[in-house]
């Protein structure tokens, strides 16, 4: 809001000043009044819990007896807990494998969709449906598709090609890959829609100018489309990582973290520790770790993409 000298001189006359001041004051009160209900609600149900989480993470607390200060004991316990490390590792594998694949697929599909074919909307619906559908319902469907018996859809396909039945979710070596496949399938829709929206927002004059300069389609893609999509790619990457680390419904309903902890994730560990073992202090320590991991990842991915936050 930089005003140039001319404007400032024009506005600096006393009557204009005074009117402006009262108006701003009146507005200011209303601004605060409009923002207050939501802000108070978020302070109470997000801000306060963060503080409580951090405090509780330094205590022993079982909900029956008052919390007992225990220093960094919970964090030491976590550092020595192989299952917690396994959960962290699974989250990382899911992010590193699943997110790039689904981003590439969704970018490719968005570019194809952007050609303006007829029947676009049917395609969009089909790809976006998994995102709209509840994850619990999704888990039930895939539970049946992955069914290790002969009537699971995947095993029907395998036996059609003369291949032996697989255990999928019931196998410690295949379960995580099976879960990742579901997350890819479920995640493509939203990413594709965001890419598509961004593609449609690119100024067509850029392409027209490139046409005049005799650029090929490939050149246009790599020199115009990709650079223009950089901010949106950053946005999708960060939100995907954040979303990936919050995978819970799928794990709870598909595998319960098993078999042999092969698909357990941080959120599932938090759930088990807090609401099945009632070790609230330890569970809040886990959730603080989750919080830190996500903040660090956000900063790192911001640096890697070189994008800037709005």
């Amino acid at each position: 809001m930089s005003t140039n000298t001319v404007d400032r001189q024009a506005l600096s006359k006393p009557p204009a000043r005074r009117r402006g001041a009262t108006l701003t004051q009146r507005q200011g009160r209303w601004g605060l009044l409009f923002a207050a209900p939501a802000t108070v609600h978020i302070a109470l149900w997000t801000g306060l819990p963060v503080i409580v989480s951090i405090i509780l993470s330094f205590t022993n607390y079982d909900m029956l007896n008052p919390p007992e200060f225990s220093g960094i004991e919970n964090y030491v316990t976590l550092a020595n807990d192989p299952v917690f490390w396994k959960a962290l590792g699974n989250n990382f594998i899911m992010a590193i494998v699943g997110i790039p694949i689904s981003m590439l697929i969704s970018l490719a599909l968005a570019v194809m969709l952007n050609q303006g074919l007829r029947g676009n909307s049917i395609f969009r619906t089909a790809v976006f449906l998994p995102h709209v559908t509840a994850t619990v319902a999704i888990a039930m469907i895939w539970l049946w598709i992955y069914s290790p018996g002969g009537n699971g859809l995947f095993n029907i396909v395998l036996s059609f090609f003369g291949l032996p039945n697989q255990a999928f979710l019931a196998s410690p070596s295949q379960a995580l890959a099976s879960v990742i496949l579901v997350t890819i399938w479920q995640g493509i829709g939203l990413k594709m829609m965001i890419y598509l929206a961004s593609l449609q927002g690119i100024d067509q004059q850029l392409y027209e100018a490139a046409d005049i300069d005799g650029a090929s389609a490939v050149q246009k893609f790599f020199r115009i489309t990709i650079p223009m999509l950089k901010p949106v790619t950053f946005f999708i990457l960060v939100t995907s990582i954040v979303g990936n680390f919050q995978t819970f419904d799928l794990i709870y309903n598909l595998t319960n973290g098993g078999p042999a902890n092969s698909t357990t994730v941080i959120t599932y560990q938090i759930y088990q520790t807090a609401f099945q073992q009632f070790r609230m202090g330890l569970a809040t320590a886990q959730s603080v770790v989750l919080l830190v991991v996500l903040v660090v990842l956000t900063i790192v991915s911001r640096k890697v993409t070189g994008g800037k936050d709005d």
């Binding site: 601004g31 009044l33 209900p37 089909a126 790809v127 039930m140 009537n151 807090a274 996500l294």
Partner: protein
């Protein structure tokens, strides 16, 4: 495919009509010949593209088709060694059997109430805050916006335990005393399901983005005309972002309908179960009777699918128009 009104042919002088007509025909012919080969090639690649996209659609939709096909299969077919891909008989009664085993009607009603309340509360509280942060300069605006942005980064799972404890220890509720002791607080009540998610920071952020692109002049004009701040907001500014409203409404409704973890934690009675939680519980009852489980899954999934079919365009337009980056 635009072969009418070419810019170059419009400005022919009126006196040389015949000549210009010949010229036009000539040019058109040359252009057609050139276009023919290019368009043929383009048509082939477009055809290949269409085929590819159809294949992708089928693959993406396959799990839903499989869900539906399973929901009408007979129990014997589910267990038979050579189950046909297409059901040999259509057993619609699977749905009534599933409804008898679990009260999906109550589950759906509960989810609908939660989704509807959260939609309205997000629209009202979120748009008010978003409007203030985008359009009104007031003391505290910057820290409040910073706070909202920071809250957006907080994963729900990092605060779920304190939220649960807050529900459990609400003073003077559910037999609790002033210090939240002695009773169960809001545990297993509607309050627990409704209050914590009344407004999400992300929706406030979205509303702020929508309002930023609205013309401030309109707001100022309304003020000069003597409209109150409330009236300026309700009657002038809020209607400007209707597509944004619809986007937030759809997002809030979807979140409410599809929520699973929170109802899992704060409810225990069947009467308060949401549809997703009910489906998850039903899985234990149905066991390996996948036809019944898929019937239940269909009932849990279809409302959102129908809603998406109805509002698909607004959904997409909302995303495009809101400039989500």
């Amino acid at each position: 495919m635009t072969d009418t009104a070419f810019p170059g042919t419009i400005d022919a002088p009126a006196g040389t009509e015949q000549q210009s007509a010949e010229l036009k025909a000539d040019r058109r012919q040359a252009r057609r010949a050139k276009q023919a080969s290019a368009s043929k090639q383009r048509r082939i690649s477009r055809f290949a593209l269409a085929i590819f996209l159809i294949v992708v659609s089928v693959v993406m939709a396959m799990p839903f088709v499989w869900m539906f096909l399973t929901s009408v299969r007979s129990s014997t077919e589910i267990y038979s060694a050579d189950m046909p891909l297409w059901p040999s008989e259509w057993h619609w009664e699977n749905f009534t059997v599933a409804l008898e085993r679990a009260p999906f009607g109550i589950y759906a009603r509960n989810s609908f109430i939660i989704a509807a309340v959260h939609t309205v509360s997000n629209l009202v509280l979120g748009s008010m805050a978003g409007y203030a942060l985008a359009k009104i300069r007031f003391r505290g605006a910057t820290p409040i916006f910073g706070f909202i942005l920071a809250s957006m980064m907080i994963p729900f799972y990092a605060i779920v335990i304190p939220e649960f404890l807050m529900i459990r220890f609400v003073p003077f509720a559910g037999g609790n005393d002033l210090f939240g002791q002695g009773g169960t607080g809001w545990y297993d009540t509607w309050w627990a399901l409704l209050i914590p998610a009344l407004v999400s920071p992300f929706n406030i952020f979205l509303f702020r983005q929508f309002f930023i692109s609205t013309p401030t002049e309109l707001m100022e004009a309304a003020r000069i005309d003597g409209a109150s701040e409330v009236r300026t907001f309700v009657q002038i500014m809020a209607p400007l972002i209707r597509p944004g409203m619809l986007t937030v409404a759809l997002l809030a409704f979807e979140a409410g309908w599809n929520n699973f973890l929170w109802p899992l934690l704060v409810t225990s009675s069947t009467n308060l179960r949401t549809i997703q939680l009910g489906l998850s519980v039903f899985r234990q009852e149905a066991g390996t009777e996948f036809n019944l489980l898929m019937a239940g899954t269909t009932m849990a999934a279809v409302p959102m699918i129908v809603m998406f079919f109805f509002f698909q365009k607004q959904f997409v337009n909302g995303f495009v128009g809101s400039g989500i980056k």
